[in-house]
Subunit: 255 residues, 2 copies
DNA sequence: GAGTGGTCTAGACCACTCG
DNA sequence: GAGTGGTCTAGACCACTCG
């Protein structure tokens, strides 16, 4: 990574902003250095031990300040290597009113996209899947889980559940679930999406290559055939630092 | 808060699940106790010192496990009081395809809603506001910031920016910004919303009465008149544990 | 092998709550 | 005033990276 030729952390007398606990004052100090350009994307910070010595606080306090900033996406830490100002991720924009192909979407933006299968098979359904898909007694569910990656950056986890009656052989899917559904005459025409912000748990954080606890978008999508029958129930997890969702709305009654 | 009559933390020999760092094993232990009903919403956990003694780890390690769970919304901590299993917040559903009144929305759900003014006045615009609102040189901007509260629970922060030409007297707004705009013939008919997941900073976390770093939804809305002119540029911050946004979509090209 | 972040300890003091 | 979470220290060892 880039050298740190800034004088900010160079001289020994660092003066923290006043007010509040030490770790917040140090956090503000680093935040300010990033936002006024004293240190820039990719720059290395001094090591935690050096910072602790220079600011004259314990390493625990340095870590507390730094980890707050890591969670907020300002810094990144790499085990064994160092702490760096986070690179400006170009955010992916995705429409919430019209569903387009993930792969096509990314290609249009000139980004190479790959998918890794996390899971693909037939299972006994969970109670939630039974309800969401309207499964009959003894009916199995096909689960299809993928990790979406652009370049080196994992962007999202997608876990789809489909009635085994509609998708009896999950292994038969090529790259596109929807293309496969189309072939069998089960292409959905409408979907309801439910969106919320969630702190990433440890397992999903590991898959998405981010610190546990960072903000992510969870989207539950239920897709319907023209007949009104549910085709697909999908839960996706998007990295908060990589996605913007865009929705257009028509204004209704008074506010 | 409710008494903790569970035997789980009662006897002295607690066995943690194996594998990984101590704080993650303790975290999993507590997580399991919550999800299998051994401790329930509102129940108190043993104090950090008691837990540390019982599990035979340091208090720092207990705190690390607990704070992970606080960020994920499983536990809540109250300074001077204790650590509790988080109550099931009933989530507010809000449509992303049709904007309805916050106040009416909540009333329909039988929830008492209040708004606190955080800011209301005329300012020199920021560069971002100038661009978003298409302001001319020397034109001022009206800023209107509110905290939305339901009962005791803060739900959202709304910060709106409107050209001073359209809203020359921000103090004149009653409870409804849109009603006021309507009166002056400036009611928007269309809006674009941009949604992302963000870790809450310390100031916003304090306003929303949650731990800094929890996941929140940030929504930027730009509203337009029928003429295409921008009326309003609003940034809102919603508590991740209190909101679900719902969007309906029509499926487009292949996936 | 030197340096870095990741985990963990034992202890201290402060700010806040609650009966 | 007893008990609780919130902050902070000085120190240790481990796991990982990098030239």
């Amino acid at each position: 990574m880039a050298e740190a030729h800034h004088t900010l952390f160079g001289d020994d007398g660092i003066e923290l902003p006043r007010g509040g606990p030490l770790y917040l004052r140090l956090k503000r100090f680093i935040e300010d250095a990033v936002s006024d350009g004293t240190i820039r994307a990719g720059d290395a910070l001094p090591s935690e031990r050096d910072l602790a010595a220079k600011v004259d606080v314990s390493r625990v306090t340095v870590r507390k300040a730094v980890q707050h900033l890591v969670r907020e996406g300002v810094l990144v830490q790499r085990h064994g290597s160092g702490t760096y100002v986070a690179p400006q991720l170009s955010r992916v924009e995705q429409s919430l009113s019209q569903l387009t192909s993930f792969t096509e979407d990314m290609a249009r933006r000139g980004m190479a996209v790959t998918s890794t299968w996390l899971d693909r098979g037939l299972y006994a359904p969970s109670p939630e899947e039974t309800v969401a898909l309207g499964l009959g007694a003894g009916e199995d569910v096909a689960r299809v889980a993928r990790l979406r990656v652009s370049g080196d950056t994992p962007l999202a986890i997608e876990r789809a559940a489909i009635s085994a009656a509609i998708l009896p052989d999950p292994e038969a899917i090529g790259t596109s679930l929807y293309a496969h559904l189309e072939k069998t005459g089960n292409r959905p025409v409408r979907a309801i999406q439910r969106i919320r912000a969630v702190s990433l748990g440890d397992d999903d954080a590991a898959l998405l290559d981010v610190t546990p606890g960072v903000a992510s978008l969870h989207i539950e999508r239920t897709s319907y055939l023209a007949s009104g029958r549910v085709v697909e129930f999908t839960r996706s997890i998007y990295r908060g630092d990589a996605y913007d969702f865009v929705a257009e709305l028509r204004l209704g009654a008074g506010r």
